[in-house]
Subunit: 360 residues, 5 copies
């Protein structure tokens, strides 16, 4: 249990260190990287350019009307670089704060010439720990900026489609790229849901073992906590996407709308599944309680059977251990035999009684 | 329990394999058929034509103004055929995706010249397993397309009415046929509700047996899961039908509206019943808990009665088993008799005490 | 328990037999009568006519402008007669279906020249079984049609007021008669609420008996079910009456509005009471659980006291029952006396201990 | 418990006797007085007149434009007098019905030239029984009528302020008097909340006593019932006051509005407190359950310790009570001493074991 | 437990003493100071003046157009001084009442030329007691008045920023200062949330100790109470800030709006965290219950094992302690040895049985 506890401790964020001065860009997350990793993909119908750099300035060359530029920054602890990018693309100071504030909940902010979306990548890392990674997306006329906490994301499918010009992506604007990115994130939630279902199943199964380990209460409580956290990351997204769909921002093309509606369907479906697993998890504690009680019942039965059978027999033996001068039975020739016969009859009677009660 | 578990495993869908690329038509369900089964019913006031085929192209001949064509496709794994049909009837790529995505929740999408509805057929199959079959309906001016996972459906009544010109169906437009199809689906939900009621009753009754099998906790948990799934399939339908009723799509005739309102009444009634059974099911765990506790009480009583009666008696026997040199009682002529008299009095006293306490 | 179960079985309706073909009038209730009973009351300010018949055609003579005609039909299995009446008064086919579908929930439908209201009469019959009787009211300019499942209703007060011209009823239109009828139904709900309160009280009291019968869990579960059903019959009525009050249908006179508002107050009051009793009932299971646990505690205490007192004493007796050659105490002159003194001291010590612990 | 039960019985109202004929003024409450008590306070900026009478007609003299007349009637069983007053002030018949129907929930009705408000005075009487007294207020241009069930109310502060011209009351219209009266009622709710908090505390504390009396389950259930009733009396008031505040009735002066908003703040605050106490009360049953279980644990520990220590010792004594011819230990010189040494070692071992397990 | 109880008693406020006469300024809080402490900060872009005084009149000199004056009053028991200030700044009498009514819930009132906001500072004092301090803010064109119960607040960061002209604060109007103050309060809530998380963790961990102290039930109940109180202080703030953000009061500059939206994000985030911790806390009682039951299971197992092993053995010893004349086994040469062999076999059999059952 030591491990479990220490994990929980580590995970807790010092909320109180967040946002000391409004507009000040301070990173509060736990993941850091030594150098920022900037990945620039610049494309239009005809061509794709791909650049990896540690320097955000490299991105500024691509900012032209006729192409779409996707700049992906990994490593939110490099606040300087992010501020440079923010200045170049004219982002509001509070947005820069939101980009590095990993505690920010999913939201969407409309500005005149760009939109800003915050969402969460949820996954289980190699140690099977639940990870909640902060992701910010700023969408402009012909650029998209994405900011992640660390390397490794769910966008490989999107990159591949850009590279190979699969689907509509190369022929569409930055709004479709935005859609494709959010879609990739939401699709990755389905894995979370599968893991949740598996966890519930594991606990349910272990509840029927002879001796479920005691830590199971803590496991259930931890699962509750996890589900509540996932809910908090997923549910606000419903409103974000609903607002995106209903938005009349000039960035959103009419054709993209049906894709956004599809996205909304997906996020509602995920939310419903979370609610179902939530109800199931809340029921696990009751299941455990009945399991414990059933076990206690069984223990009690063993005790009761043993005691009920032998206590009367011991009493009988006690009778004939008495030292009264005149106990006629003691002097019978077959007294001891008779005693055993009676004893066995009593014994069988008890056995029969417990059999009838279905305790044996 | 092995069986139960393996069933649950099988049923779980790999959500993560859904919707890899937007607009790509990939079937994710578990049911497959070797050849697609296409059933075409073409009718108007005067005549009915009925064709069975494995080829969707056969349907395109019927697409004329003066008749209504109902094309029913069984087997969603034949995505090629579905795409052909989609192309002919000019359906949006995302709709084709929804047709084969069996995880899609019930919904309605309005397009300019057609409507698209997703719902679920719920039934128990021959093995008494709960089945949730995906059904999509596309309604146009003079055609209806329906897509099902497998052969066998709830539309036989509708087919018969078309064949025999019973009711208003032959004199009405495609909107009335759509109504008749949805109505058939919703009517079939009543069977589900009956089964639910039966299952609850079976569990309730088994809770009062002497020894309910332990697996009952799992049964209750499974029933909860089932109800939650049914809810998820049924509840969104309320909004679908409400939107259908309030829709001012030119496809929906004024006269069909009161039928749709009737449909809405039915779906609300089903939802209310589900909620009632849900509350009853959630109460079952408490019932089971009291049942266990009552049983333990009974076990404890047996133990307490046995122990309370015989422990004092054994003590008395022990007293006169002692080897003190001077125990006057031992030398009384009727000592042993007196002992038995006292013993029987004590015994009867205990019996009386427990009788008074109503434990016997 | 056999009786209880069979009752529950009987009560369950085959939902699946409802509404096979839209617009087809099929009775699904359980009550039937051999002949329909039609009661016609025709009145205006000056006079009242009252006719009992088995023939609905008798009612058609009264349909004149200057009087109000109330036609009450008992026996929904006589669908033929109901269809005749429907045809005469020009009712929509779906309304006829609703009249005989006893599963239809409370609702109101507005038509151009009449209104149609469905509600439920709730009462306990002579066998103290909860009865949910279907009642439909069609209100036109100068007529009211009411349809009931069986003889016997809550309208005797209304009949008497018409007969004796008490209150405003003879001077008002069909809307006031409609109000008076609904008012009579809702007033009868108060009896249901009283019975509910009584039932909760009976269970609460029996929970404090020495030995509540085990069936009490089932009683609580049944009461839950009953309350849920009552809720389902009563709650939709709030919306029905609210819509009636806000309706601008020409049938509803301005003056009737404040009466309808009063009705709304009543139905809200009933709903609130149901919710309170619901919460109380849901708490009963917890109460029962604590009762069981308290009883077990008491059983355990008896066992513990008996065992704790006699086990050490028996041990002491055992000591001096040993056959060691040299046990000095055995040879003391007053050894046996001393033994008893020690024994009584130990005994009193245990008693004192348990008294201090308040177990005795 | 007899007392408690009889109290509950008494309190239950025969709902079914309410409102037999619409508009008929029948008192259903339990409090009655022999003569009506009418108190008239007539005031304006310059003077105050105060009259006590048993005759409502005495009030009619004061009905003048230039003063505000407050007529307070105690004793709702004098329906005749109330009808006289109603006729004089031209009140709607349904209002008269509401005045004497003590089951009417809080509400507000707007009429052209007056407003009618129903609310509840809640207090604990001298026997510490919860009392829910019905209060109706009718407010006209220059008069206010208040109707109470019995003598004794919360308006003494208001009377004193009128008498001594303290605050704005003498300079303001009937709307401010209405505000002052409702304010006095709502202020009195704070006492109810204090009592609730105290009751919860008393139960919580008694749960930690060695032996909470068993009736505590009933106490908790009764407290739940009380809180639910208080909620029912208080919560509708939120809407009443909100509507009063937003009302544009000509009776309500602009200046009174901020006072009404203040009132709304108070009622929301009270509602929130009720909800908190409700949650606390609902948690009490769980607390009690753990208390019982803890006690049972303790009982079990005593039993287990006693049995575990003495059963092996008794067994040992039994061994040397056997009559085998050749038991070598029996013939050892210090056999009895050795026996005691082993016995004490076993005894101390058990004690050490239980100490280590923290059971001792 | 004595301490805990007395603390709770102290904390409870006599609600009933609040607001006896409308508009009368009576302090009801528990904190008092001998002299009022007035702190005046007067600043504009160029300069800052800072004055500490015991006299509110000192503030009136600063009230000029070209600077912003922040007057902070500590000590709400000095109602006289507050009334002076209120008169000077022309505040409504009901506002003065709200300033000193520490029971007032968070709210916002718009007046023509100023806004009035009530909120709560939440913190744990040096004795680790939860403190809920009342804070009122009145915002005018070029002044801000803040009223606190006692010295010590969360505004030191704001003071420092004004002093050192850090951030936008010196260049902005009174609306930005208002934002900065509310922001400081809300930021301090994060500490509360951290403490809550810690408390839950402490309880969870102590539930897994061998012997959780019994007071833990009370701790959980107290934590529930605390969370409910925090909720009550925090949740209304959501609406306050939402209304502030949407307000079109001329005081609120366009540029401040995005800061207010940021504030709203924070308060929603805090609310969500509170809800999560609330759910976790509500689950603690169930966890405790299973912990108790598990412990009881363990106790029962020890008893059952001891009893089941030694009761049969004692019976065997009893058999050969009998005094029958003819018990052949007693006279066997190795009878006693054989007896021990059988006894050890039985003993090992029982041990094996319990090992197989995993009880050992």
């Amino acid at each position: 249990m030591g491990k479990r506890k220490s994990h929980r401790k580590k995970e807790r964020i010092k909320y109180s260190s967040i946002h000391q001065v409004p507009g000040q860009v301070t990173y509060v997350g736990s993941k850091t990287s030594e150098v920022p990793s900037v990945e620039i993909i610049n494309y239009n119908k005809e061509r794709v350019d791909k650049v990896h750099s540690q320097n955000v300035e490299d991105a500024f060359n691509f900012n032209k009307e006729e192409t779409i530029t996707w700049i992906n920054v990994n490593g939110l602890n490099h606040t300087k670089e992010i501020e440079k990018l923010g200045k170049h693309y004219n982002l509001h100071p509070l947005i820069l704060e939101d980009i590095v504030n990993t505690q920010q909940r999913p939201k969407i902010d409309d500005y005149d010439d760009y939109m800003f979306i915050v969402l969460k990548m949820l996954y289980y890392d190699e140690h099977n720990e639940f990870v909640n990674e902060h992701l910010s997306i700023a969408v402009g006329k012909n650029y998209i900026l994405t900011f992640q906490e660390a390397d490794g994301d769910v966008f490989d499918g999107v990159r591949e489609r850009i590279q190979n010009a699969r689907g509509r992506i190369r022929n569409s604007g930055s709004d479709y790229l935005m859609y494709a990115l959010i879609d990739a994130v939401i699709d990755s939630y389905f894995t979370i849901i599968e893991t949740m279902a598996e966890k519930i199943e594991v606990i349910e199964d272990s509840l029927f073992l002879e001796n479920p380990e005691e830590g199971i209460t803590q496991d259930i409580q931890d699962l509750k906590r996890e589900i509540l956290k996932i809910r908090r990351s997923v549910f606000p997204l419903r409103e974000v996407i609903s607002r995106l769909e209903k938005s009349d921002h000039e960035l959103i093309d009419q054709k993209t709308n049906s894709y956004l509606r599809d996205l909304y369907d997906h996020i509602v479906q995920i939310s419903e599944n979370i609610e179902i697993y939530r109800e199931m998890t809340w029921g696990l504690m009751d299941m455990y309680m009945t399991t414990i009680s059933n076990k206690m019942n069984e223990v009690m039965k063993v005790l009761t059977i043993m005691a009920s059978i032998f206590i009367p027999l011991t009493f009988m033996a006690g009778i004939y251990g008495m030292n009264f001068e005149h106990i006629p039975e003691l002097h019978l020739k077959y007294g001891y035999l008779y005693f055993w016969i009676v004893l066995i009859i009593v014994f069988l009677g008890m056995i029969w009684y417990f059999k009838r009660k279905k305790w044996l």
